[in-house]
Assembly symmetry: C2
Homo-oligomer: 283 residues x 2
């Protein structure tokens, strides 16, 4: 793991790393914010919030645009942002569209050729990257997870599929039911094939009824989001949660859109939500 | 003036506008953040902080990366970000380097051909844009000014040359003495010609001794800034201020660099500084 950048930020440190991923069989980069507590002379291990970004993003969008460092520094919480797909693997068609292939890994494990060798973002984000981070950086084994749009769905699925792994989960404007929206149908068809039974393992709304752990799903959604009606379907997920008594908190925010201005406006509340679950209360 | 984008942000509004600038003789775009107070049903006029960005930036960098909306929303302060040069004027050599021409207008009024027709960013930023903003948006005539790097210098010069126009001025990592640094020598030679006497009117360090108004200069500078020793020279400006009893507050921040992570870390303190001068105390 090679450090490729470092910036002081709110008396903590923003860093970027490059490393070889065995799971993805390629070189990957990720970003981390370490709060002051974790970088002072006698560093104390801090819990980690994993943030999964949306279509076309890299590990950098959230770090630069969400305004999250201020509150994370106060709380004593690290944030880790992985990239949104394998990189540099040169698969045919990988760069042909914004919503499939590079920048659009959908945080699942592909089963179809030629994607199955590299496109295993679920295992990378849930297992390999945390193991690397927890071995190499001053962090504890306490984890929470959040994300935006495609990454919001990735966070929900990571939590629903892996009971006990995360103290809390939240999402901004997540794709909620990918089996029934254009982004999801395109991604699932390509990565998982046409058998819809295989899709159910990777669809948050379809995973909720069988989820062994009743972790509350905190979801913020803007009403002026251009993707809301066609792609996101939060009400379908919330209806399913209510039916099976899975705790969900869906907050509709009048007038907010799909941008990072929306995320920045409510990120502190999400960090506080995760901090409570992680047992930290800030400096 | 045509609105080209709008996003809700912290219950205020981020907007982008396009308009015809008479001073620059071209179409320009700018960004504005309006706090909740200015966009509710009965809007109240709010004071404006003008932010001048650095080399290669547009009107968008600060809005997306500085994390300033949160505190500006609380304080009831608007923020206006102009672009960093005239655009689309197709002058020969305009796009040849990152530190001259487009994206590098240096907030002065050029006197040399072919630049003098369009490159009049001082008059645009100090006069034409505020007049337009104050005519068209729910803002008062109270103004402060700040900026980063080239734009930090632009803010200092705007305040020093225009007594009574700004309630307060501040800068992050400003170019402080452009007559004696490579960025400044290149810009001043090109825009103002080789006569160094003409440069003195546009150099903050050389303007301080004759400044009729003793407005405090608040300057934040990181010690790990790659441009500090060759381009910025804050100590030269501070020495001059002390010699002529011009109030200056230069704060050196150990380990911080030239990036927006540095700006984000201290922007709230600058907004509070300006709010005090503007007579607002927040919600």
């Amino acid at each position: 793991m090679e450090q490729i950048a470092s910036n002081l930020s709110f008396d903590g440190e923003h860093r970027r790393y490059r490393h070889r991923s065995e799971v993805l069989d390629c070189e990957m980069e990720f970003s981390v914010f370490l709060p002051p507590k974790a970088v002072k002379n006698t560093p104390q291990p801090v819990p980690v919030l994993y943030w999964l970004s949306g279509l076309t993003c890299t590990d950098q969008n959230f770090m630069q645009k969400a305004g999250a460092h201020r509150r994370a520094a106060q709380l004593g919480m690290a944030i880790v942002c992985p990239d949104t797909s394998p990189r540099g693997v040169n698969l045919p068609g990988e760069d042909d569209s914004y919503d499939f292939g590079s920048g659009a890994g959908f945080y699942l494990n592909a089963t179809q050729e030629p994607w199955s060798r590299h496109y295993r973002m679920h295992d990378y984000v849930v297992e390999e990257l945390p193991a690397l981070v927890e071995k190499s950086l001053p962090v504890s084994h306490l984890r929470s997870i959040s994300g935006h749009s495609m990454g919001g769905h990735g966070a929900l699925v990571a939590a629903l599929r892996n009971p006990g792994r995360y103290a809390s989960v939240s999402a901004f404007a997540p794709v909620c039911h990918p089996s029934e929206c254009p982004w999801g149908i395109k991604a699932f068809s390509g990565y998982l094939g046409e058998d819809r039974e295989a899709w159910a393992e990777w669809d948050a709304t379809l995973l909720v009824p069988g989820a062994p752990e009743k972790l509350q799903l905190l979801i913020d959604q803007g009403t002026a989001d251009d993707f809301l009606s066609e792609q996101l379907h939060p009400e379908t997920l919330a209806d399913t949660c209510e039916k099976v008594h899975h705790p969900v908190r869906l907050r509709m925010h009048r007038g907010y859109d799909h941008s990072y201005f929306f995320i920045a406006s409510f990120i502190d509340e999400h960090l506080d939500h995760h901090a409570r679950a992680l047992g930290i209360t800030g400096s």
